[in-house]
């Protein structure tokens, strides 16, 4: 009956009131202030930031050769000499983990950049141009969506001789772009039908300017979310492939450390540290990215917004109450 739609947001009744003011404070760029204004993304940012710092200073806090062979130092439990213990080859696991962070971050970053930019370019172009271009892109997206990614990856990494990072990045981007392309295409389609696009056309804007000047700025948060999502999926998949031994197992990375731990059945011998530390590092990084994503989703989707909650006042204290609040601006 009448309550058919009690979901109608009662707050809409307030929507026309004098809207909030922007407080432009500090010199925090808008997007960063936005990320910091959300508890989840703030925590995620801090976690990912920590991993980045560790990766940057890795050469100074690790031993010279993280894969060094030393029977004397083999299979040691965590101690002040070897914070995370050593492998059965006597390599320092702490060094492997901090050096491995570099590979993980670089790989995730570039795979995400490649997949997201491919998805954005194809998705938005298809949405705007429509017709044959849209059909072709759609078929492509659907083909990549129905191929199960993990078996494809296993097969591909089996065939590809070069197991370098570039190959992995390309392979990961290839299997991950389609998800995002579909989402970005849908969003571009709905934005395209908004009056401001017609208004820009009526003003005389060129198509390129409408895409990059009007549409893309509205999709930034969605594109950022796509980027973060691909980032951590790439991390997990890469570590998974390495763990299965489907990668170059002579390099230093979290997955490889896990692979050797598995191969040498360390847990059976009561050695938990070769598993625990790289695994925890991976989990920590992924959790950080997941939180970041949850934060972005929250201010992208007003329904998830945790505005008006008491914690905002604490936040004000923390940042001197001068944070830019521009949630509405990014829709």
């Amino acid at each position: 009956m009448s309550q058919l739609d009690p979901t109608l947001d009662p707050a809409l009744d307030l929507s026309l009131e004098a809207p909030r003011r922007i407080r432009r404070g500090f010199h925090v760029p808008g997007w960063l202030a936005l990320l910091l204004s959300n508890t989840k993304s703030r925590l995620g940012l801090a976690m990912v930031g920590l991993v980045v710092v560790v990766a940057v200073i890795a050469p100074w806090i690790s031993v010279a050769d993280p894969n060094g062979f030393s029977l004397l130092a083999a299979r040691q439990a965590p101690s002040w000499n070897h914070l995370f213990g050593t492998t059965d080859q006597g390599s320092d696991i702490f060094s492997q983990v901090v050096i491995g962070a570099r590979r993980s971050l670089l790989l995730g970053f570039f795979a995400a950049a490649l997949a997201t930019s491919t998805a954005a370019v194809l998705g938005i172009t298809a949405a705007l141009l429509g017709g044959l271009v849209d059909d072709v892109v759609n078929v492509l997206i659907n083909i990549f969506l129905v191929i199960p990614p993990i078996p494809l990856l296993v097969v591909m990494s089996g065939y590809v001789q070069d197991h370098g990072m570039t190959t992995m990045i390309v392979v990961l981007a290839l299997v991950l772009w389609a998800f995002e392309a579909r989402i970005l295409r849908a969003q571009a389609l709905s934005l395209k039908s908004r009056d401001f696009v017609d208004a820009a056309r009526a003003s005389g804007e060129s198509t390129a300017r409408i895409v990059f000047g009007e549409l893309v700025p509205n999709m930034i948060s969605r594109i950022a979310a796509a980027f973060v999502l691909v980032f951590y999926i790439a991390l997990l998949v890469d570590a998974g492939l390495e763990f299965l031994g489907l990668a170059d197992v002579s390099k230093t990375s979290w997955g490889v450390t896990l692979y050797w731990a598995q191969t040498n059945s360390t847990v059976l011998q009561g050695e938990w540290w070769p598993f625990f530390f790289p695994g925890a590092a991976l989990a920590f990084t992924v959790l950080g990215l997941v939180l970041l994503l949850a934060g972005i989703d929250e201010f992208t989707n007003p329904r998830l917004r945790s505005e008006h909650k008491p914690h905002r006042s604490r936040l004000r204290m923390l940042f001197g109450g001068r944070l830019a609040t521009r949630e509405e601006g990014v829709s």
């Binding site: 009956m1 009448s2 309550q3 058919l4 739609d5 009690p6 109608l8 947001d9 009662p10 707050a11 809409l12 009744d13 307030l14 929507s15 026309l16 009131e17 004098a18 008006h308 909650k309 008491p310 905002r312 006042s313």
Partner: protein, 342 residues
């Protein structure tokens, strides 16, 4: 808060079908919640059509949601009571509320026509709704749905149509028919025709009037379109920034509006016949309810609020006016009126 206490909490009025006493609804938490509704007293008699008019954001929809108890966080009732047939509905159990919403009050929203399930036949939606609330077999429910559709001027065979096969006006009438299906005593129409064309709007309102004559339900008609209310309502309450600023019988309000806001609203409608004079509307825009103006909330937009009249100006900007009866059934909250009429 303190102001609430000063207000006469409906003590002069006899208890009607629905009565709001000092109702206040807040949005948000923290030190500065927005009071979307602030100390509203309102009574609705049986069979009466009460119009509630005001601009968007003045709190009229919030009142409707409060009456139906479908406010959702961050909105909450901060003070006051809502009496239905003398019984306070605040603090009723979920089950009682469910019965109350179905049996006593139903609501038709502006977007209601989009609330029909697009993949279900119209008739099945009636059946589902009826069987959720009473024991009735499918066949009888369908027959009843057909009758109800005929009542709102839709062919009964339309029970087997899908919503997308109906026009917007027909869908809105379907929703009105659903709202009628259990013969409620009060129907709340929240901008029921705003999305529709004038001709369709007129047809629907004529039907509601005819149905009201037959069934005798009361109507709380919420809209921003005062000219509609002047025709269809018995009595009109004007809201501004969360408060009722004037109530009067429709005819009297049209002839003798007292509050400057009401006067401004009436002057915002150009006439369709007779001489045309330049209109001004109301300059400015409604206040931010998190930080409403002191004194009379309308004073920043009021053409009669002039610093030259120092004494009056001081009162307008510092004292909050309360509703005063200036004539039987005509109440105004305005310092100007209080001056002359009491």
């Amino acid at each position: 808060m303190t102001i609430l206490v000063e207000q006469p909490s409906g003590s002069r009025r006899k208890t009607g079908l629905l009565e709001l006493r000092g109702l206040a609804v807040e949005y948000g938490f923290g030190p500065r919640p927005a009071r979307a509704v602030d100390g509203v007293d309102l009574a609705l008699q049986e069979g009466e059509v009460l119009g509630l008019a005001g601009e968007s954001g003045c709190g009229k929809t919030t009142i409707a949601n409060a009456v139906l108890q479908i406010l959702r966080p961050p909105a909450r009732i901060a003070a006051g009571s809502i009496l239905f047939e003398g019984e306070d509905i605040l603090g009723k159990s979920t089950d009682d509320l469910r019965r109350y919403r179905w049996r006593n009050v139903s609501m038709v929203l502006q977007s209601a026509m989009n609330a029909l399930n697009p993949v279900m036949r119209v008739g099945d939606q009636f059946v589902d709704a009826m069987r959720a609330h009473e024991k009735i077999n499918r066949k009888r429910a369908l027959a009843r749905a057909g009758e109800l559709l005929e009542l709102v001027g839709i062919d009964h065979r339309r029970v087997s149509s899908y919503p997308h096969q109906l026009s917007g006006g027909m869908r809105q009438r379907v929703v009105i028919a659903m709202a009628l299906s259990l013969e409620p005593e009060l129907i709340i129409l929240d901008e029921p025709t705003t999305a529709l064309d004038v001709v369709v709007q007129r047809e629907i309102l004529q039907q509601v009037e005819a149905l009201k004559r037959d069934f005798g339900f009361a109507v709380l008609f919420i809209t921003h379109d005062l000219s509609l209310l002047l025709e269809f309502a018995d009595r009109i309450a004007i809201m501004y920034a969360g408060e009722i600023v004037e109530t009067a019988p429709a005819a009297r309000l049209a002839e003798n509006p007292q509050h400057p806001y009401t006067q401004g609203l009436l002057r915002s409608f150009p006439p369709l016949s007779g001489p045309l004079t330049p209109l001004t509307g109301i300059p400015g825009s409604p206040p931010d309810l998190r930080d409403p103006p002191t004194g009379c909330r309308f004073h920043p937009r009021c053409p009669h609020c002039l610093p030259e009249q120092a004494d009056l100006y001081r009162r307008q900007t510092t004292e909050r006016p309360t509703l005063r009866v200036i004539e039987q059934g005509h109440e105004v909250a305005c310092h100007l009126v209080a001056e002359g009429a009491e």
